[in-house]
């Protein structure tokens, strides 16, 4: 069978121009903003790739259906217990606020959405699509988590679908604090020797030692993630120190591959928050 098909010189030139034009188009695509890239991605996923994605969902559902039912049952039971405990707590909180003369607590909310991880050919996925229900106003960037811990952050949105990065993305950073001791720092992903992605807590002051096993929570600084979301557990201190700060390896609370459903944080709008009074000049005569 023949494969030799050397074309005429003119058609070779035309081919070269076509290839060069396509290379320029590809470079243009890579320079587009996240919003435009999301539009193209969603367009392809809802047309050409739709049958394949539907087949993947079917495989996935049939594969881990029993496991998910068990997990949901356990989650439901623990939520019921927590709900009972919280009812008392909420009432107690309300009464204390009345006594202390504080305004009513502004509750910030979460919206539930489906997490669809990307499927790169090799390695783990660093990006995901997040689909929320109608009437949800996403304010970007927005933190995504599950009751077990932090998942990632939404970077752009189009309609009800957002494009987000898992905490494994090389650009991901989150401000954290230790649950038990007064230690703060910044967490970022780190690929360890065996190719496993863990977290690295950096920027802990040299005089503060974080014991192994300490739980790290989001500090809420930056306004992307609410305060108090579990991020991970400290495994050990890293030997290499940078300057006057310590760094620690952290076992993440949530692995990106485990997440199917997530919660996106919807911070309270600025109008609904009560302004904190600033201390003015002391009244005369005091």
């Amino acid at each position: 069978m023949r494969y030799l098909t050397v074309g005429r010189r003119e058609s070779q030139r035309r081919d070269l121009f076509l290839a060069a034009g396509l290379c320029l188009a590809a470079l243009f695509l890579s320079s587009l903003g996240l919003q435009a890239q999301l539009a193209i991605t969603l367009g392809l996923r809802s047309t050409v790739l739709a049958p394949f994605l539907a087949a993947h969902r079917m495989f996935e559902r049939s594969a881990d259906l029993a496991e998910r039912v068990e997990l949901l049952g356990a989650e439901r039971d623990s939520l019921a217990v927590r709900e009972l405990q919280n009812a008392d707590l909420a009432e107690e909180n309300r009464q204390l606020r009345v006594i202390a003369g504080l305004p009513e607590r502004v509750l910030e909310g979460f919206a539930v959405g489906e997490v669809v991880a990307g499927a790169p050919e090799s390695g783990g996925s660093h990006s995901f699509l997040f689909r929320v229900g109608p009437d949800v106003d996403l304010r970007l960037p927005a933190g995504v988590s599950t009751p077990r811990g932090l998942v990632g952050v939404l970077r752009s949105a189009r309609g009800r679908t957002g494009l987000g990065e898992f905490w494994t993305h090389p650009d991901f950073r989150v401000a954290v604090r230790a649950a038990e001791i007064p230690a703060t720092g910044i967490v970022r992903p780190i690929v360890t020797g065996p190719g496993e992605t863990l977290m690295l807590l950096e920027g802990v002051p040299d005089q503060t030692e974080v014991p192994d096993g300490s739980l790290l929570l989001t500090s809420g600084i930056g306004g992307v993630h609410p305060s108090g979301i579990p991020v991970g557990t400290v495994l050990e201190e890293r030997e290499s120190r940078s300057g006057w700060s310590r760094s620690y390896l952290v076992q993440p609370a949530v692995g990106p591959g485990q997440v199917r459903v997530g919660l996106v944080w919807l911070p309270a709008s600025p109008e609904s928050t009560v302004p904190v009074p600033t201390p003015g000049p002391a009244p005369e005569g005091e």
Partner: protein, 163 residues
């Protein structure tokens, strides 16, 4: 007579390419977690370039690159660029090298997949280390050249039987 045989071979080649692309997008959840597996996307592109003009091969690579980045949720533009270049250079190398030589298809698929797979990995969000890039891509290329070479050989056999 020869033109008929070529046309038939091109038609069966197209069937093989479509089957490889469909298999790639359909079966990827099964080998996403494996350290080494066939790269049917690059393999399909290279099998397609065996019978496409260089410009058309570049266009095919561009389209596959877009689909791949939409599926992976990363590398939009980058994957398209890599596969456009691979398609164009693959078709041109077929023109310039001894394409009718024995074992040409297997060695073409092996070298092409090695380069293409390594390029896609480099363009991903996290690039693997050099050993993984070189050795992992070589193992992927070996498996891919066997699978896609068999698909191409089957297409040729069907074309010969039909003509």
């Amino acid at each position: 007579m020869m033109a008929d045989a070529d046309r038939s071979a091109a038609a069966w080649n197209a069937v093989a390419v479509v089957a490889l692309v469909v298999a790639h997008f359909l079966l990827r959840p099964f080998w996403v977690g494996l350290p080494v597996g066939p790269d049917l996307l690059v393999g399909a592109l290279l099998v397609g370039t065996l019978r496409l003009r260089a410009g058309h091969a570049a266009l095919f690579g561009f389209a596959l690159g877009l689909l791949e980045s939409a599926m992976a949720l990363e590398g939009l533009g980058g994957y398209a660029l890599a596969l456009t270049l691979l398609g164009y250079l693959g078709a041109r190398s077929r023109d310039l090298l001894f394409a009718d030589a024995r074992f040409y298809v297997f060695s073409y698929l092996f070298v092409g997949t090695w380069i293409g797979h390594a390029a896609l990995q480099l363009l991903g969000t996290t690039s693997p280390g050099i050993p993984v890039l070189v050795l992992g891509s070589a193992a992927t290329a070996a498996i891919t050249s066997l699978v896609c070479g068999a698909a191409e050989a089957g297409a040729v056999a069907l074309a010969v039987r039909g003509s």
